[in-house]
Structures are given as C-alpha cells and as structure tokens.
Amino acid sequence: MRPSAPELDLSQCDREPIHLLGGVQPHGVLLAFREPDLTVVVVSANAEGLLGLPPESLRGQSVTRVLDADSLRRVRAGPAIGPVWVTAGGRACSALLHTLDSLTVLELELLEDEDATAEEDALSAVHQLVSPLALARGTTALLQAAADGVRGLIGFDRVMVYRFHADWHGEVLAESRSADVDGFLGLHFPATDIPVQARALYTRNPLRLIADVNARPVALVPPTLPDTGHPLDLSGAALRSVSEVHLEYLRNMGVGASFSVSLLKDGALWGLIACHHLSPRHVSAARRQACEVLARLLSLQLSAEERGAEAASRARRADLQGQLVTRLGEGPSLPVALDSHGELLLELTGATGAALLLGDVLDADAQGATGDTPLLFGKTPGEAEVRALAAWLAAEAGRGATFQTERLGALYPPLAARTDVAAGLLAVRLDPEAPRFALWFRPEVSHTVIWAGDPHKPARPEPGQTRLHPRGSFAAWREEVRGASAPWTREDVAAAESFRGALAGMVLRHAAELSRLSRALARSNAELESFSGTVGHDLKEPLRGIQQYTTFFLEDHADSLDPEGREHLQAVGWLARRTQAMLDDLFEYSRLGRLELAWGETEMQELVDEVLGTLSARLEEGRTEVRLPRRLPRVACDAVRIRQVWANLLTNAVKYQPAEPRWVELGFLGPGEPRPAAAHRSDAPYVFFVRDPGIGIPPQFHESIFEMFRRLHPAQAYGGGSGAGLAIARRLVRLHGGDLWVDSAPGQGSTFYFTLGRGPA
C-alpha cells in the first residue's frame, strides 16, 4: 500500500522522480565499481560502519580492498537471481548486484544470525512458503495461503494481497494479520494510492523493503557521477531511499516498516503482496528473495487459476445463454418467455438491469412487444428514457456496432442523473435498419463496492491504533469516479455479442416459423377457397332444388295436404333458405380475408344517409325513429365496406327492440372530446357508435356475439339472420385497423362502438 499524503497535489505525486532521490536506506551499503579495472566510483556514506573504511578512502580504489578474492569471483560471475554470499570488510554479507551502463552496483547487507547459518535456509524458506500453495484450491484460498506464508516467513504484523482492477483501483483479496492491527480485507482503494511511476517501479523491481520509516536516508558519495553529472539511477537498487511523502504517510498510519512484493501476470502488474509492521523490521535479502520466488509461483498459479476462472465464466455464460435460448424457444412468445428469465439475462453480462427493444421483430400480437415498448428487467431507467436512449444510440453507435461505456452520463446527458441505475451501458444493436437493441445497465461503482474510508465521516486517529485516515486523495478520486460504473470486461462484451447472435438466430427461427405458417396458411387458404367454391355452388344447387320442389309441391298440392303437412313443408323450405343464407355469409366472410381495401376520403354522413335510405322501409315498418344528433365527420375508409358495417349495426339495432318506442341513435366521439369508459378501448381519433334501447346483451356474451354464426336467440326470433353480420362487420373494421365492440346490459339497450385505423399504410 502506498497511499499518498493528503496535503499534496496528486499530480505532483505522479511527477516526483522517486528513482533519482540520490540516497539509500541505512540498513545496507551501496557500492558501484567500474569494469574492467574494478575502480570504485560511488559508495554510500555509511560504508565505514560495515566495511571499516570511509567512502573517501574507497573512491578511486580497487574494489578488492573490501571484497576477498573468492567473493569477487562470485560477484564477477555476473548478476545472479538472488543474493550472493560474500565476505566484505571481513564480515559475512549478502550482496545484491546489478549492472548499470558500465557500472556494477553492489548492495551489501550484513547477514543476520538467523540467515547466516546456511544457504539452505533460503531453500527451506521457499519450501515453507510454497508447500501451502500447492494445497490451496481456488484463487481466494491460494492468496490466503500466500498471505499466511509470507507473514510466517517475515513476521510482519499485517500481510495483504492486493489486486488492481482495470481502472487501477485496488481491492484487498486476502489478509493475514496479528490480532492488534486493523483488518483491511475486502476494502477497495483508489487508484491514486499508487501513482503511475510507482506502479512502473513495482513492475521493474518486484521487491521493496522499507526497513525503518524513521531512518534517515544515507547520501551517495559523490552525489553525481563525474562522467555524466547526473545522480546514479537507483531504480534497480533494493536499498533505494524512499519518497518523504510516502514515509510521512506510513508514519501517520503508525507503520514502522513496509515490505511489498509485486504480483505480475503476463508481465503486467496484477497486484501486490503488501506488508506492514508497526515497528522497524528488516527482512534479510534471502527471505525477500524467497518471497519473490513465492510471488512468481503465485503469479503463475494465478494465471492458471484466472484462465480456469475465465474458462469457467465462459462456460457459465454459455450455459446461461443456452438456458435463455432454450427457455425462450419454449415460451408462447419471446417477450413472455424473457419475462420469467430476466435474471439469466442480467447474469449473462453481470448487469443489474437490462432492456430489450425488439420492435415488431417478434410476434406483434404478443402483449408488451408491440411497437416501441421496451422489455425491462432489473434496475433500469423508465420506458420512455430507454426509448429515447435507443434513438440516440441508433444515431450515435452506428449500425451493428457494440457500444459500451462506464460513463453514460458524460456522453448522454439526459441520463446523467440516473447513475443509480445506468452509469454503465453495454449495448448491442439487433437490427442495422431500426433502433432495436439489447441494453445492459450498471449503476455507479460507488454503489457496489466498499471503499476504504468514508470521505463524509472523517475519523480521528487514536493513539496506539492503526487505521486508515481520511485522505484528500480519496475524496478527489471519489470525485473522479463519480458517475462511473465498473468497467465492462472483454467477457461481458463477448457474452453480449454472442447473445445478439443467439437472439438473431431466434428471431430468424421465429421468422422461418412465421413463413412456414404463412405457407401453410396460403395452402389452407387455397384449399378453403376451393372448398368455399364447392360450397358456393355444389351445395347451393341442391338447396335451391329443395326450395324449388317444396314451392312446386305447395303450389300444386296444398289443397290435398292437412295444415300440419303444409306447415312441415313450409318448414323444409325455410330451413333450406336459412342454410343457403348461411352459406352465402360464410362465403362472404371468407372472401374478406383476401379483400383489398379501397381507401378514400369519405363523408360519413353521406354514407349513413345512403344506408338509412336502403333501410327506410324496414325502419318505417318497425316504427323506428332514427336519431342523428350531429353531422358525422369526414374520414378515410373504404366506403363500400364501412357502409356494410353501418348497415349491419343498424339492422341489428332495429331487430332487437321488441317493444315501442323504438329508436336508433347514430353518433361519434371526436378528438379531444370526453369519452365514456366503455369507449376507452381505442385511442383512435373518432369513435363511432350505434345505440339502441333494446333487449341488451349480458356481459358474458360481449365477445362471443362477434363469433361467426354465434347466436344468442332461437333462429326464428328477432327476424332470423345467420349470426354472421357482426362477425363480418368486426372483420371489416379490423381490416381498416380499427375495432368493433359493444357496451350493453340486459334491459339497458346496447351501444356498438367502432373505430377506423390510421388510414392506408
């Protein structure tokens, strides 16, 4: 953990040249000599304490003055992975070395008693560390084993395994600590806690020990190299001194010593093993080296685990998608099926909300899928907001593109205030020609993670306690991430795109099914047509015959029949006429299926006048008053068909009035006029109606009266009729895109309402 100090500008932290601070920590001695003459060029000011010689007497001298022949041989064998055991100034030391231009940089630390025993200790330390790893199952257990192992080896108070997220903010995934320090497990830390150049050093140099935060750094002699005039680059040096900012912050936290080991994955910084100790504590080079070996093994293991996890996640997503596709295939319609499996849809991309804008791609008759109404799952903006977003996306995101952002509000201000549900958006376009999308939403990230510290509740440091302090950097960072969601991963995007594929496939299958049905329908239409042709002629012929012969018979032999015989014969004729009328209606109804409407501007008033004209005899005969309170409007319709509708409704209204006074009212409700509840079924601009005070219809029959040949009364009652009139009338208005319905109750009369559609498409 490298939190920066609160009082400093963060960008200043990013610029501080921490590799050129020009000093070393006092727990070791740095010495740089030139090949091939072995002349010492730079040495740290604390040389005398370890080597017995002051820097001045070493500079310009051969390094053999401090290293014995055997040690020199080992050093000159070249940079080793780990520390080299040497005798320097007559004392056993561990030496770390690296080369820098023509210089060999040697860092010497006195071997402590516990390390001095044997080189095997390092091996046993590695063994001690690595063994638990082999037993751990799963990433979390693995990291926990690493944290425990490191703490066991170096004896620090707190060892955390810290992982960087894609935006470089960090999360504590595992922790091993003594009982008297605070736990940070599960907390998230802002990215600014570890500045860019610090992350670069962590990548280059995986080990970092600050043995004593209060130790004064030791200068190098001379401070700049004579050849170049620049200070020695210490980025490769383990002893490199520490930024005062960082030290001060560690002191503020009550930390006495800090040690970190980088976790790299595929060469990139994945995380850190970060260790704190309350008092100063040195970790020998050998143990540090053991930790590095552990980190490397851990990194490998993590890579494997992560690849496994990715594979598992891919498998999980594939399974989710499979489930979705299967379930959706089973459902009566896609929207209905999706409705009960919205959770799967969310899980697919790890979203908290999703919206599908399918337009009329799917079954347009299915509730909820008509027109532009989006299907919403989980936490999403409202329907209208989603529709507007889709319209914007269609213009912005381009055809067929996948669109993703963690900051929707910055790109699309209308949703800037909806970070509670839609800070992040992942969108796949389903149709290049229309604004049809699958959308996934995520809320602002601060809604979903626990941050290390609450900027609104500054905590006071208490003596003897280690705790995180409120930090300006945190508040600043919080400002920076406000409105942003967790980023969409490659896997999320892949899952979304693959869902698009599946959905497209499903839609295609749906379309194929529709086309199969329509072929079947065309076939059955053709069959029906030939059937109705047969009915129209071959069945009518014998019916005509029955009527003719009963007529002849009655004409010729009525006198020789008794009244009952005559009645029977008349009944035969009536039945034949009735059957023929039904055939005619059936024929008529079936013809409506292939009817092409002839749209035109029509004066509805004139149309109704014509109908009243043709029905006048009947109206007079029934002494039925026609009420027309106001002139009917001009509308677009197929005049011939709508005349038939009026005629049907008027005939009906006249028919079902057994007693006087009989009347029929014809009227309409215009745009903006108040409508009775019964007329609310449609929002068409005009609702026409035909009202009568007749016998009325019980509510349970309000739909069935529109079925073909459905009758509520005996065939002979109320003037007969085949029961096809209303079915035909409804089919005619529906061909116009309108609807026909009734409001009625027994004894209360009936009002038949009808609307026309929006005109020719």
Binding site: G536, H537, K540, E541, P542, R544, G545, I546, Q547, Q548, Y549, T551, F552, R577
Partner: protein, 148 residues
C-alpha cells in the same frame, strides 16, 4: 315467326330446369324451351350432331356456367369462336354472383348475364323480362324468319 324457334336451356340442375320450364309453360304466351343437361350436349345440339341431327336452330341460348364436364365458359368460347354461331345470342343464367364469373362471361362474348333468382315468384319476373326483351323488343339475327 320468332315464336317457332325455341330457347335452348343448357342446365344441369333439374330443379332449376323444372322451375324454368314450369314458369315458361305458365307465361301468357308460352316460351318454347329445349333443355340439354351439359356442355357437350349443347354443342351437339347446335352443330346438329347425333341424336340432335335434325334439331332446329334456337333463337337464344340460356347457358348455366357451372356444370359438370364441359363448363359454360368453354361452351361460350367455342360458340363465339365459330363464325357460323357467333351471332347466336347467349345469355348466361347462373346463381354465381362472383364478379370474376360475370366479367369473365362478358369477356368471352356473352350477350347478357342473369342471376338465377331465388326460388319462388321472382323467377317468373325474370322469365317475363327475358321474353319481353329478347323475344319481343330485341331484333335477333336470322331476321328474314321473324318477318314471315
């Protein structure tokens, strides 16, 4: 005199034929009707073939459209394609109100198209009108006979 030449009724439905014959008999001046049951017989009659070798030429043909075997449309086309018979007036007499049937019949050269009325008295009205127009008002081809 026109009355000596019969109407040829081409009709497969006995009921319709019987009804028409019945009406024809009862008209004030009876309509002479000859009936055949199908298209083939109609052509045999008009070409005076087989049993119809000595059949008289009719004044008019009343032709049903929907018949088993050779249909009315085919009979019509054949007659109108033959220069010797083209002038013979052909009146379609059908229960079909299909616009396709009506238009098709005229396209093939029918001289008029009558819907078979519903059974009962309307048939008599139709028969009277038929007689009044075609046999009294209209001048038919083969006029030298009519002035005799």
């Amino acid at each position: 005199m026109t009355g000596t030449r019969p109407l040829l009724l081409v009709e497969d439905s006995d009921a319709d034929a019987v009804a028409l014959e019945r009406i024809a008999r009862r008209l004030p001046s009876p309509l002479p009707l000859v009936r055949v049951r199908d298209g083939e017989s109609a052509l045999d009659y008009l070409y005076q073939r087989g049993t119809y070798a000595s059949a008289p030429r009719p004044a008019l043909v009343l032709l049903d459209l929907h018949m088993p075997g050779m249909g009315g449309r085919e009979v019509l086309s054949r007659l109108k394609a033959d220069p010797r018979l083209r002038c013979l007036p052909i009146i379609i007499f059908s229960s079909s109100k299909e616009p396709l049937d009506v238009e098709g019949a005229y396209a093939d050269g029918a001289n008029s198209y009558l819907f078979k009325p519903e059974p009962g008295e309307q048939l008599e009205v139709a028969a009277r009108a038929l007689q009044a127009f075609w046999l009294h008002a209209a001048r038919l081809p083969g006029a030298e006979d009519s002035t005799a």
